[in-house]
């Protein structure tokens, strides 16, 4: 299993498993509470519906009772009912009274149960009417010219001399009436009321569940009228609860998927960040870069040795007697260069230059780098070192590499012509120590300055383009800054500022 795969799997386990466990717990808790609250409200609403029917029934009874009083006070109707005659008035009476009492159904029936006056269907007179039992509500079918409607009715009696009449009044049981019964359906939206009459089979869809029933007598218009049991059935649909649960599940699944996706993306990004294998081209570039840096560093180390040995050769040929003396004088240079190369070799052996930052006297390192003086004899090398500078926190070897590269570049910029290379030290701003290497060479244009520290950029024939690049990296590693001030034809000045220890 690759590192990337392990990283992905680990991240997934760390993020997703707790998330799923947490989500499942929330989902279970929500579903449970939802169902419990729903059941509680449904139960309450069923009680409200039952009470509402009783209230409607009582209201009808009150209106019929009031109508009885009005009829008793109506001499014209009384006379017509007792003596007959004035038929048109009697036939129209129930219609007028029905409108005034706000009822949808009103019949006045004689003692044989025949309609004397009908409010909802004026022309059903003399036909048998349905008389519900006294004292409670009932359902009847109210005929009209255009059809019939179901009504919730109450009945009352009206006694006149020698005659007894029944008053049957009620309200229309239609979808509006049933909807009003479950007016709290804003809370429990899937609750509905159905009327189940004798002979009815289906009341609601398969998904519906009966939560309450209210029994009512149903008076059928048969000859003679008969009473059957009927029911107001309050049902609820599982669809709401199911929908709510589905919503919870859906959002839960969405949350898990989104989290998983994010986890995978983050893990992928991290694994790419940490473990992206180099391409062959990148590997070759890095290896080439490393090889050039090694070559460059070794050349810097071999340069003094070559000069020393050239000096030894000249002395051996011209002044052999002085050879031991000269050897003694240049022994330090040889040992210093060898030590430099050994340190380089040790660092490259670890494939990473180990920084050995410690308080360092910058002037001492400069003097070390100037022994022997770099460049040919026609180059005037000036050192303007300010005494009593604070030590800088830097790897002395790295600082020497910086100085040697800057001096080498300065000498090279003279192109073999006579000129001056100046190396100076001074105090910089904010407690820094400044190292300045300037020359009177060919200088650089602004574009050349902008690219001077890029890898492999060089204006020298045979140059590697790594010198200033290495200088920049080393200075940055020492938490310092590198600036270049150069003018074509007038020379360049490299300014290194290093923090003091």
């Amino acid at each position: 299993m690759t590192f990337r795969t392990r990283l992905l799997a680990g991240f997934g386990v760390v993020v997703l498993v707790p998330l799923v466990v947490f989500g499942l717990g929330i989902r279970r808790e929500m579903s449970g509470r939802l169902a419990a609250e729903y059941e509680r409200r449904v139960g309450t609403l069923a009680e409200i519906v039952s009470a509402d029917i009783v209230r409607q029934s009582d209201a009808i009874a009150a209106r019929l009772n009031a109508l009885k009083g009005v009829i008793a006070a109506n001499g014209r109707l009384r006379a017509a009912l007792i003596q007959g005659g004035d038929r048109g008035y009697v036939l129209d009476y129930a219609g007028d009274a029905m409108g005034l009492t706000g009822l949808d159904f009103l019949q006045i029936l004689d003692n044989e149960g025949h309609v004397v006056s009908s409010g909802h269907f004026r022309n059903e007179f003399d036909r048998p009417g349905a008389v519900p039992p006294l004292g409670g509500p009932a359902l009847v079918n109210g005929p009209t010219a255009e059809g019939s409607f179901l009504a919730l009715v109450r009945s009352d009696t009206l006694s006149l001399p020698g005659k007894r009449f029944s008053l049957v009044g009620g309200v229309r049981v239609d979808s509006l009436f049933l909807a009003r019964l479950v007016r709290a359906s804003r809370i429990v939206r899937e609750l509905s009321v159905h009327v189940v009459l004798p002979g009815d089979t289906a009341t609601a869809g398969d998904a519906a569940q009966i939560v309450a029933e209210v029994a009512l007598p149903y008076v059928a218009l048969e000859d003679p009228p008969r009473t059957y049991p009927a029911r107001l059935v309050i049902t609820r649909s599982e669809s709401l609860l199911g929908a709510l649960r589905r919503n919870v599940n859906t959002w839960f699944a969405v949350a898990v998927l989104v989290s998983a996706l994010l986890a995978v993306l983050i893990a992928g990004w991290l694994s790419t960040r940490f473990s992206r294998p180099m391409t062959e081209m990148e590997r070759r570039v890095v290896m080439g870069d490393l090889a050039r840096q090694v070559n460059h560093d070794i050349k810097n180390g071999l340069g003094p040795l070559r000069n020393v040995f050239r000096h030894f050769t000249q002395v051996a040929e011209k002044e052999p007697a002085n050879l031991p003396k000269v050897f003694s004088e240049r022994q330090g240079t040889v040992e210093s260069s060898i030590a430099y190369l050994e340190t380089l070799a040790a660092n490259y052996a670890r494939l990473y230059p180990q920084s050995n930052e410690q308080p360092t006297d910058i002037n001492a390192v400069v003097r070390e780098a100037l022994r022997p003086p770099p460049g040919p004899e026609n180059v005037d090398l000036l050192a303007e070192l300010l005494d009593h500078l604070p030590p800088v926190r830097v790897d002395a070897l790295a600082l020497r590499r910086v100085i040697q590269n800057l001096l080498g570049n300065a000498v090279d910029s003279l192109d073999g012509k006579p000129g001056t290379v100046t190396i100076a030290t001074e105090r910089g701003p904010n407690g820094t120590v400044r190292l300045l290497v300037s020359d009177t060479g060919r200088g650089m244009s602004k574009a050349e300055v902008d690219r001077a520290v890029d890898d492999f950029y060089t204006t020298k024939k045979g140059g590697t383009g790594l010198g200033l690049s290495i200088v920049r990296r080393l200075v940055l590693d020492a938490h310092g800054t590198l600036r270049v001030d150069s003018h074509p034809g007038k020379g360049s000045k490299f300014i290194v500022e290093l923090p003091s220890a």
């Binding site: 038929r87 048109g88 004026r122 022309n123 059903e124 009209t144 010219a145 255009e146």
Partner: protein, 366 residues
């Protein structure tokens, strides 16, 4: 005199009125050769005198001397006969002022069809205005608006017809109209409470019938009580639609198959027809269905319902034409249900009006 109208009046229907208001207005504007009074006696109208011969088969009508159109053109016999005629009679100009009526079957009495509004003498007016008639009163588009119609006589008398269609006619009574013809019991009941008005019964002029494929099997009782207006059981004797043998073979068309529902159709807006349809539905089951006039006419022609309740005139000048125009084009059983009549609410002191045999009021100019 101000007269209230309880229906709308459409001038293009002239001279044959299609509702009570149009019949009332057109009767004052357009003339036939004769009219019949409420006892059935002929009364001079466009013709001032008449004679018969050949056993009552040839009748000659002499136009009144001052007979002229509203525009002043004299009325000639040719104006009376052109384009007119019917089953069993022909109209012929004998001379400029004499119209001959030749009957296929002799009659001792003046033929009733001569009072048929369809035979009223008119000529078209320029610009589609009210047709130009010969009556004592005249109307033009300039004297008529949707709210009122002003009819003038040559003697300076003015009849003002005020529209009450869609309004409560009792408001017009309170607003000062002198005469109103209505079938609304609420209006006549209200007028009876007002000492300024008297309510006059007009002749029974309308018979509501049930047209169906089969005669009704249920005993239809209580119909006259079902109608919230004045109605009575049909009087004995044959109605005109029962004596159509002279009109040729009965219609042979078959009604469209019934939709299955026992539907009693009526014209929406006719309260008597609605009441009767409801009563029939109560007695025999089924349902009543109110249809718009055009829809009712299409349904009656097709015969898809179980029954149709509608009104027929009690008397018609020409039975064959009435049967063609008013009865369904299939062999229907037409059962008379009730007869109805209108009532005139008249301001006391107004006496310049008579009642024609068809129940339409006729005003006499001063």
């Amino acid at each position: 005199m101000t007269v209230a109208l309880t229906d709308s009046v459409e001038p293009t229907h002239a001279p044959v009125g299609r509702n009570d208001a149009e019949r009332l207005v057109f009767r004052q504007l357009y003339e036939t050769l004769v009219r019949f009074d409420c006892e059935g006696r002929p009364v001079p109208a466009l013709a001032e005198s008449w004679t018969s011969s050949d056993g009552g088969r040839r009748w000659s009508f002499t136009l009144r001397a001052d007979a002229q159109f509203w525009d002043g053109a004299p009325v000639t016999a040719r104006d009376v006969v052109v384009g007119r005629g019917g089953v069993g009679y022909t109209l012929n100009p004998i001379d400029a002022r004499t119209v001959g009526v030749w009957l296929a079957k002799g009659s001792d009495d003046v033929p009733a069809f001569l009072a048929d509004p369809a035979l009223a003498v008119t000529k078209p007016a320029p610009g589609g205005d009210w047709p130009i008639g010969t009556g004592r009163y005249w109307v033009t588009g300039g004297t008529a608006t949707p709210e009122e119609i002003r009819a003038y006589s040559s003697g300076g008398d003015t009849l003002l017809f005020r529209q009450a269609s869609g309004k409560d006619a009792r408001d017009l009574l309170d607003a000062g109209v002198d005469l109103l013809v209505t079938r609304d019991r609420a209006v006549t009941d209200y007028a009876a409470t007002q000492s300024a008005f008297t309510v006059v019964d007009l002749p029974w002029d309308r018979v509501y019938v049930l047209a169906s494929v089969e005669p009704p099997t249920t005993r239809l009782d209580g119909l006259e009580q079902a109608v919230r207006g004045e109605a009575r059981r049909p009087q004995g004797g044959g109605f005109w639609w029962e004596e159509l043998r002279a009109c040729g073979p009965a219609p042979a068309g078959a009604p469209t198959a019934s939709t299955g529902a026992r539907r009693i159709a009526y014209v929406r807006g006719d309260p008597a027809a609605r009441d009767l349809a409801g009563r029939i539905a109560a007695l025999g089951g089924g349902t009543a269905a109110g249809l718009g006039p055009a829809e009712f006419s299409r349904s009656l022609t097709g015969g898809a319902g179980a029954g149709y309740v509608f009104a027929l005139p009690r008397r018609v000048p020409e039975a064959c034409r009435a049967a063609r125009d008013l009865l369904p084009p299939w062999p229907a059983a037409v059962a008379p249900l009730v007869e109805t009549r209108a009532r005139a609410v008249v301001r006391r002191g107004q006496s310049r009006w008579t009642v024609d045999g068809d129940g339409t009021l006729h005003f006499v100019p001063q």
